[in-house]
Amino acid sequence: MTITLWHFLAVAAALFGIGLVGFLTRRNLITMFLCAEMMLQGVAINFVAFARYHGNLQGQIFVLFILAVAACEAGVALALFLSLYRRRRSLDASDWQELRELGVPPAVDEEPLEVVKEEPLPTLTPAGARPIATPAPEEAARV
């Protein structure tokens, strides 16, 4: 008895589930996207395993189309993330929670983030004449 179809199906289900957990819980848009791609990989394993089981190529063909769709999805998602990032300077999906449904209370982060103490930059004792400061033109943030 060798490795059977069931083995591959079980692994694919577990991979899909891990991706689902990540998609539901993580808040970074890019991590969420990668988790969705991982769910697609689980589905792809299912397709290829069934193609092997039935001894034909239809499943593999389907995975090829999944690849094409995933590539499109990656391009569009990336462009969306860029334009979202330009507006809020953050990749946090919860920044956009004002788009939620009417009547749903907003999610509030209660616990504060831990503060990392930054080492103060070394300062040199000033020496010589102070230069005349000219205010630099403020530059718009660019991505």
Binding site: V11, A13, A14, L15, Y53, G55, E73, V76, L91
Partner: protein, 415 residues
């Protein structure tokens, strides 16, 4: 009476539930949060979940002993995919998550290779690990925040989220278990054949014979082009077709085997069918998989085509040559047509079970013959996606007097 005796289904359900619960606990502890994240406990619980899951798969779906190399590779690749997937979900740093995702892709590609899909392996590595990951790393570099940030160090409902995911996995696994029970052997000693991934149906010798027959059938049209004048030429043509016929017969069996009632009928059915077959019923097979069935069906249609071709060709060669004008009915075009049909049938039989060897060629054949419209649609979709991505990411020129993107950015920062 043993109060703790469980039925097999309850036992399986319990094990799946245990694995799912351990996984929920592990991810709950590991998902990034400002407080309450216990990495060591989470990893320990995830390892326990993986061990329970692996033991359950191993015990339920059979211990893969004979194919040592294949099973070692399978466990390695699947463990790699699951471990790096867990790292991607639980990792705070999204850049490291992307690298872990690349390893998930590599492991899945190993599984593809085990499933005889080398082209898909190469395509997936190129597209995912080569293109998608790299573009995402670019975006990550653009937007990397220093220090803790809300998007990387907080999770949305870690407990409910991981519970939902793993409840789903548990249910899928339980369904798998019940499906596998339905197709399991009734006797404990019997070898389970359901779910076995097929080995090639045709042997190398049979494939050689079939390829030879195809080459001869390709030349059959030239043989039929003109009516042979002399008896010797006619005999040569008859021999040519006889050779094709006997070559195909030696693999799939004689054309009219029910009438002949022979025992030795072709190596392919002999190898696959059990000898004690009742008349009128489909024969029992040594290996009950879809591929063997399909190969036998294909062999039957090859047999019929071979029979028809032989009949037509015989009608073309009347046995009494002195007859000055052959009857008008048996025209060579019909034989030619039938020979082409036979050739296509033999090619299809030849292609049975050669998924690993000629994967790319066969994939291309199926793709461009059966799924041509879908290919065109996928190409159009890619084009539209490129245009859409450019349109979305395009930085609009700021118009004076209107609230522009730049001012929104600054508002967002100020907030």
């Amino acid at each position: 009476m043993n109060l703790f005796a469980l039925t097999k289904t309850q036992e399986a359900g319990g094990q799946i539930a245990l694995a799912a619960a351990l996984a929920v606990a592990g991810f709950f502890l590991l998902l990034p949060r400002p407080r309450g994240r216990v990495v060591s406990l989470g990893i320990a619980s995830l390892i326990a979940a993986a061990a329970v899951f692996g033991a359950w798969v191993y015990n339920t779906f059979g211990q893969p002993l004979p194919d040592v190399v294949g099973s070692v590779l399978f466990w390695m690749f699947s463990a790699g995919a699951l471990v790096f997937g867990a790292v991607l979900v639980a990792q705070k740093n999204p850049a490291r998550g992307a690298i872990a995702f690349a390893f998930v892709i590599l492991s899945t590609c190993g599984l593809f290779l085990l499933l005889a899909a080398p082209f898909l392996m190469a395509a997936t590595i190129i597209i995912y690990a080569g293109a998608i990951i790299v573009t995402f790393l670019f975006v990550l570099m653009l937007s990397q925040a220093a220090g803790p940030s809300a998007e990387n160090d907080r999770s949305r409902e870690p407990l409910y989220g991981s519970f939902a995911g793993f409840a789903f996995v548990g249910l899928v696994l339980f369904t798998l278990y019940q499906t596998s029970l339905a197709s399991a052997p009734a006797e404990p000693g019997e070898v389970a054949t359901a779910g076995r991934l097929p080995a090639p149906v045709l042997t190398a010798e049979e494939r050689k014979k079939l390829a030879d027959a195809v080459a001869k059938l390709d030349g059959a049209a030239a043989q039929l082009d003109e009516f042979p004048a002399s008896r010797a030429e006619r005999n040569k043509r008859i021999e040519y077709f006889e050779a094709i016929k006997s070559e195909i017969v030696s693999v799939v069996g004689p054309p009219a085997r029910e009438q002949a009632g022979q025992i030795g009928y072709g190596t392919l059915p002999e190898r696959l069918e059990k000898p004690a077959a009742k008349a009128g019923q489909p024969a029992e097979l040594y290996r009950e998989d879809a591929q063997a069935r399909a190969a036998l069906d294909r062999a039957a249609s090859v047999r019929n085509a071979n029979f028809t071709t032989a009949e037509l060709e015989k009608a073309l060669n009347p046995d009494d040559p002195p007859k000055p004008a052959p009857p008008a009915k048996p025209n060579p075009d019909a034989v030619k047509e039938q020979a082409r049909v036979l050739r296509n049938e033999v090619v299809l039989l030849y292609g049975m079970g050669e998924l690993p060897a000629n994967n790319v060629r066969n994939l291309g054949l199926v793709l461009y013959s059966e799924h041509l419209l879908a290919i065109e649609l996928a190409g159009t979709l890619l084009l539209v996606a490129v245009i859409g991505a450019i349109a979305i990411a395009h930085r609009k020129r700021e118009v004076p007097g209107e609230p522009s993107a730049g001012s929104q950015v600054q508002r967002g920062v100020a907030k």
